[in-house]
C-alpha cells in the first residue's frame, strides 16, 4: 500500500516537470480525424449539390478548427485549464456538425439523366459521422484528462507549498 501511495506521489511530482502529452496527443488525433472528415466529405459530389453558401463556411470553419485545436493542444500540454473549455466547445461543435453537411447531403438527392441519386451514400455517411464523433471524443477526452491532471497538480503543489511553509 505504501508503495502504491509512493508511486502515486511520484506520478504527481513528475507532472511538475513532464508535459501533459496525453491530452495534447488526443488533440492532434482530433485534428487528424477532422482532416479525414473534410477531405472525404466532398468526394461523392453529385451534380452541383455542394456548390452552395455552406461550403465556404465549412472550409473556413475547418481552418479555424485546426488552428484553435492546435493552440489548445499547446495549452493543455502545460496543464492550463482554460484551454479545456475551448476543447469542450470544439468537441460539441464536431457533434453539431453531423447535423449540418453530412445529414443534409445524406438526405439530399440529385437527378442524373432523369434518375434520382443520393448525394451521399450510406458508407460515406457512416465514415463522416465516425470521423466527427471520433474527433469530438478525442477533444472532450483531452479536456477531461487535462482538468483532472491540472487539478491534481494544483492540489499537490499547494500541499507542497504548505509543507514548505
Amino acid at each position: 500500500m505504501t508503495q502504491v501511495l509512493d508511486d502515486r506521489q511520484i506520478q504527481m511530482d513528475r507532472m511538475r516537470y513532464v508535459k501533459n502529452t496525453s491530452s495534447s496527443r488526443l488533440c492532434y488525433l482530433a485534428i487528424l480525424l477532422n482532416v479525414l472528415y473534410f477531405v472525404s466529405i466532398y468526394k461523392s459530389d453529385m451534380g452541383s449539390w455542394y456548390y452552395q453558401f455552406l461550403i465556404g463556411i465549412s472550409i473556413v470553419y475547418n481552418l479555424l478548427f485546426m488552428l484553435v485545436a492546435f493552440l489548445a493542444s499547446e495549452g493543455v500540454k502545460n496543464y492550463k485549464t482554460a484551454y479545456s473549455n475551448a476543447l469542450i466547445i470544439l468537441g460539441a461543435g464536431q457533434i453539431l456538425r453531423i447535423f449540418v453537411l453530412p445529414m443534409q447531403a445524406h438526405s439530399a438527392v440529385v437527378k442524373i439523366s432523369g434518375t434520382e441519386v443520393p448525394v451521399m451514400g450510406n458508407p460515406q455517411f457512416i465514415f463522416c459521422i465516425l470521423m466527427l464523433l471520433g474527433s469530438a471524443a478525442c477533444l472532450i477526452g483531452a479536456a477531461v484528462i487535462n482538468i483532472r491532471k491540472s487539478k491534481m497538480l494544483a492540489e499537490y503543489e499547494s500541499a507542497k507549498a504548505k509543507e514548505a511553509a
Binding site: D7, I10, Q11, D13, R14, R16, Y17, V18
Partner: protein
C-alpha cells in the same frame, strides 16, 4: 566497481596517420585519471577509443577484466560529457536528463527518482523546467553531467568539459566535478589541455605528446620529477626555464653564466662530466637573494607573487616567480639564486636522476 585496462592501444586512421602509439594504463576503481597534453597529442582520440566512438586499431580494452575492445559504444556502460554539452535545445532540462533512460524504456517513476536525485546533487532542481538556452554555460555543463549521472555508468568520460566556460566559471565547475567525484566515487577519465585542471583534479595524470605517453603519475610526481623535457616544460605555470649547460669542474657552465651545485647535485651528475645537459629551473624555485646576475626587462605584479622576466648570461631568458610585491624596473640588475634544479640529457631529453647514468 569499474577497473579499466588499456593495453597497447594504437590508433591508425585510414590515411595511415597514427594518432596514438602503444597506450598502456590500468585505471583503478574510483580513480580520476586526467589525460593532458597539447592539441593533437592523441588524448581525445584515446578517450573516444575508450568510449567506443573510435575503433581501436591494435591493442585491448578491458573493463572489469571483460574484453570490450569490439563492444559497441552503447553497450559499454560508459557515459561521456562533451565540451559542447550536446543538449537537446527543444527539451527541458528534466527531459534532457531523462532522455537516455526513456530510450532504455525504464519505468517512468524510476526515471523521475533518478533525475531528481541527480538534479539535487548538481543543484539543478530549480532549473528542471527550463530549456538549455535559458541556462548559463556552467549550468548547461552540469546538465550534461546530470545526464551521465542518471545512467549510473561504470565509467565517466569527460572530453574537455570546461573549455567553453570563462575562467571564473571554469574554476567553480572544476570544484563541482571534484566534489562529484568524491560523492560518486566513480571511475573517471578526463581529457584537458589545461594543466591547472589536470593538477587540481587528477588522482593520476597521463601526459601525452605526439600520440605517445610521456609520463603517468600523480600530479606531484609530474611536477616534481618530470620524466623528460616535454613533461617538465608542459607541467607548471609559468613554464620551467631551460638552459644548455655542460657539467665541468663541479659546476654547470652555460654560455655566459655558471651555476654552482650542491654536493647532492654533483653526485647526481657525477656520471655526466663533460656531457651536454639541459638545466631546468622552475620560476618558483628562483629567488632574488643569490649571486647570478639577471638584467630585468619586465616586472609583473600578480598580488601574492611577482613575475620577473630578464636576461641571464648571453641573453638567456629567465622568468622568476618571486614572493610578494617587487618593483624592479626595466634595466635593473638583480642577483638570483636557483633552488631546486632539474637535469636532462640533451640527446635523449630524459631526466637525469640520482643513481642514473
Amino acid at each position: 566497481m569499474a577497473q579499466l585496462s588499456l593495453q597497447h592501444l594504437d590508433k591508425i586512421y585510414d590515411n595511415n596517420v597514427q594518432a596514438v602509439f602503444d597506450f598502456n594504463m590500468d585505471v583503478k576503481d574510483g580513480e580520476l585519471i586526467v589525460l593532458v597534453g597539447p592539441s593533437g597529442c592523441g588524448k581525445s582520440t584515446t578517450l573516444r577509443m575508450v568510449a567506443g566512438l573510435e575503433d581501436i586499431s591494435r591493442g585491448k580494452l578491458l573493463l572489469d577484466d571483460r574484453d570490450i575492445t569490439q563492444t559497441p559504444a552503447k553497450d559499454r556502460d560508459m557515459a561521456m560529457v562533451f565540451q559542447n554539452y550536446a543538449l537537446y535545445g527543444h527539451m527541458t532540462i528534466y527531459e534532457n536528463m531523462a532522455f537516455s533512460l526513456t530510450l532504455r524504456k525504464e519505468d517512468v517513476n524510476v526515471i523521475h527518482k533518478k533525475v531528481l536525485a541527480a538534479a539535487e546533487i548538481l543543484g539543478l532542481t530549480s532549473q528542471l523546467n527550463k530549456k538549455p538556452a535559458q541556462l548559463s554555460g556552467g549550468q548547461r555543463q552540469r546538465v550534461a553531467m546530470g545526464r551521465s549521472i542518471v545512467r549510473n555508468p561504470k565509467v565517466f568520460l569527460f572530453d574537455e568539459p570546461l573549455s567553453n566556460l570563462d575562467a571564473k566559471l571554469r574554476g567553480a565547475t572544476r570544484r563541482e566535478i571534484l566534489l562529484l567525484h568524491k560523492r560518486l566515487k566513480a571511475t573517471m577519465l578526463y581529457v584537458t589541455h589545461d594543466q591547472t585542471e589536470a593538477l587540481t583534479l587528477a588522482d593520476r595524470i597521463v601526459c601525452m605528446s605526439m600520440g605517445h605517453v610521456q609520463q603517468i603519475g600523480t600530479p606531484l610526481e609530474l611536477y616534481d620529477s618530470p620524466n623528460n623535457l616535454f613533461v617538465a616544460g608542459f607541467i607548471g605555470l609559468p613554464p620551467m626555464n631551460f638552459y644548455d649547460v655542460v657539467f665541468q669542474d663541479g659546476t654547470l657552465k652555460g654560455k655566459g653564466f655558471e651555476v654552482e651545485l650542491s654536493d647532492e647535485e654533483r653526485s647526481i651528475l657525477s656520471g655526466h662530466v663533460g656531457k651536454e645537459l639541459v638545466l631546468g629551473v622552475r620560476p618558483e624555485d628562483i629567488s632574488d637573494d643569490g649571486a647570478l646576475p639577471v638584467k630585468v626587462f619586465s616586472n609583473e605584479n600578480l598580488g601574492m607573487n611577482t613575475l620577473v622576466h630578464g636576461f641571464m648570461g648571453d641573453n638567456h631568458r629567465i622568468t622568476a616567480k618571486l614572493r610578494g610585491w617587487t618593483s624592479y624596473k626595466d634595466g635593473d640588475t638583480i642577483k638570483v639564486r636557483m633552488g631546486r634544479k632539474h637535469f636532462f640529457d640533451k640527446q635523449t631529453t630524459n631526466a637525469i636522476r640520482k643513481g642514473e647514468k
